[in-house]
């Protein structure tokens, strides 16, 4: 059953600098949410908090399944994933990078092999399967980051500026991947971007982060 996410009165400061202030929002419609905002407006912090990788100073992050609050344990964390702007590619093959999330969930053998190959086909990297992932171009690395995330079939897929550091051609490929994921309706996607036209192309719901809060556009 799909998850819903409810952020309530989230406040977060780094030192004396407030980043998020009383930020509340419910992500409960599925589809693609796009968060826009200036640099330093708190978009990435919000995604890390929503992905349970960081804790807010004040406020709550609740995930619900059939309106039952889910415990913040490893099982819940494994239903959510975040693709960082700087991917954090592991110094191993493309195959092993994609297999990572699956192996730690106990998948092995033919199932693992088939899943990795399917996902790499999906993002157009199947021909690089044996290559060391650190030799990929920035655009390919971004696709690998997405492949690694979608391999685990997350209920929530957070993408932090997925096209910031890549060229136009790869931006188009990544956008097509996001649109295909949107069609499949397997995951709720929450992404950040600076590009308004991209937000309009991809987003079902567009939000703006301003003064530490999320506001509908």
């Amino acid at each position: 059953m799909k998850l819903r996410l409810c952020l309530s009165n989230i406040c977060k400061s780094y030192g004396k600098i407030p980043v998020l202030y009383n930020c509340s929002y419910s992500f409960d419609n599925g589809g693609v949410y796009v968060i826009m905002g200036k640099n330093g407006s708190g978009k990435s912090t919000l995604l890390r908090i929503a992905a349970l990788l960081e804790t807010p100073d004040i406020g709550t992050v609740e995930y619900y399944s059939e309106d039952i609050p889910q415990k913040h344990d490893i099982e819940l964390k494994r239903r959510i994933t975040l693709v960082l702007p700087k991917i954090g590619i592991f110094n191993t093959s493309v195959y092993n990078n994609v297999a990572y999330g699956l192996k730690i969930r106990g998948m092995k053998g033919k199932d693992l092999n088939d899943r990795v190959r399917d996902v790499l086909n999906f993002v157009g990297l199947s021909h690089k399967i044996k290559q060391n992932a650190l030799t990929l171009s920035s655009g390919e690395a971004q696709r690998l980051g997405i492949a690694r995330a979608i391999a685990i079939n997350p209920d929530f897929l957070f993408l932090d500026e997925p096209t910031s550091f890549i060229d136009e051609e790869n931006t188009k490929i990544v956008e097509d991947i996001i649109l295909q994921l949107k069609c499949e309706e397997k995951s709720t996607i929450v992404m950040t971007t600076h590009d308004k036209s991209q937000a309009e192309r991809l987003g079902d719901t567009i939000l703006v982060m301003s003064k530490g809060r999320l506001n509908p556009i």
């Binding site: 494994r78 994933t81 960082l84 700087k86 991917i87 954090g88 110094n91 990572y100 730690i104």
Partner: protein, 233 residues
């Protein structure tokens, strides 16, 4: 004269002189065992220091770094006092045995392994840790991932420690006693044979030590080259 000594030394090596082989084998056994022990103890500590926050961590890091430069003769002296008949560990009867030499070299290499492995682990881009967490790894799985990413640095650290051990003479001479056929290793033999003016065996062992050192350096260079040949994404 020098060429005669070199010829004799090479002849000893080529003919597989029994005494020479025994000395080389003991050196490798003592230093190899010490390296295994110090790695088995040191790598988990380095990982803990690199991946966890705990009270006294800065002090521990400084302490380990300080012990990295500890003079081998001081280690030898302290162990001698502990292992000698009147020492608190004297009842074990370990003084002037290969075991005492292994203990001395473990003590010497432990801070090297810990400090260099710690450096390798903290040098891993923090983004790797975040990526592993984001993919649902548990704390242990995150730690294992970071260690795996630091593997070339860790192997370099262990190799560097082995090089230091192979060249060490002070501590093993004090606790081993340089007993022929029992605790005599390459470095102690070189020191003794040089004193006696018996240069052929000393030079032969010197050549072997240099060769081992060269292999170690080549290995480190290869590993560092492998590590440095990729950019971080």
């Amino acid at each position: 004269m020098i060429s005669d000594i070199a010829k004799e030394a090479i002849s000893l090596i080529l003919h597989g002189d029994k005494e020479l082989l025994k000395i080389v084998a003991l050196s490798l056994e003592v230093s190899g065992s010490a390296l295994i022990f110090s790695t088995a103890l040191g790598l988990p500590l380095a990982a803990l220091m690199g991946l966890a926050e705990f009270p006294g961590k800065t002090f521990l890091v400084n302490l380990i770094n300080t012990f990295m430069g500890i003079p081998p003769v001081v280690v030898g002296l302290v162990l001698y006092l502990l292992l000698s008949r009147s020492g608190i560990l004297g009842f074990m009867g370990l003084l002037y045995t290969p075991t005492a030499m292994m203990i001395a070299q473990t003590v010497l290499s432990f801070p090297i392994v810990v400090a260099l492995c710690h450096t390798a682990i903290v040098s891993v881009d923090p983004i790797i840790r975040q990526a592993a967490e984001a993919l649902g790894a548990t704390r242990l799985q995150v730690a294992m991932t970071v260690i795996r990413e630091a593997r070339y640095g860790i192997i370099s650290a262990i190799t560097a420690a082995f090089g230091r051990l192979m060249a060490e003479v002070g501590a093993i001479l004090i606790v081993g006693g340089n007993i022929a056929g029992y605790t005599r290793v390459m470095t102690t033999t070189i020191a003794m044979e040089t004193d006696k003016g018996n240069f052929e065996l000393a030079v032969a062992l010197g050549i072997i030590l240099l060769s081992i050192s060269m292999v170690i350096n080549l290995l480190i260079c290869k590993l560092q080259g492998k590590k440095g040949s990729f950019r971080t994404l």
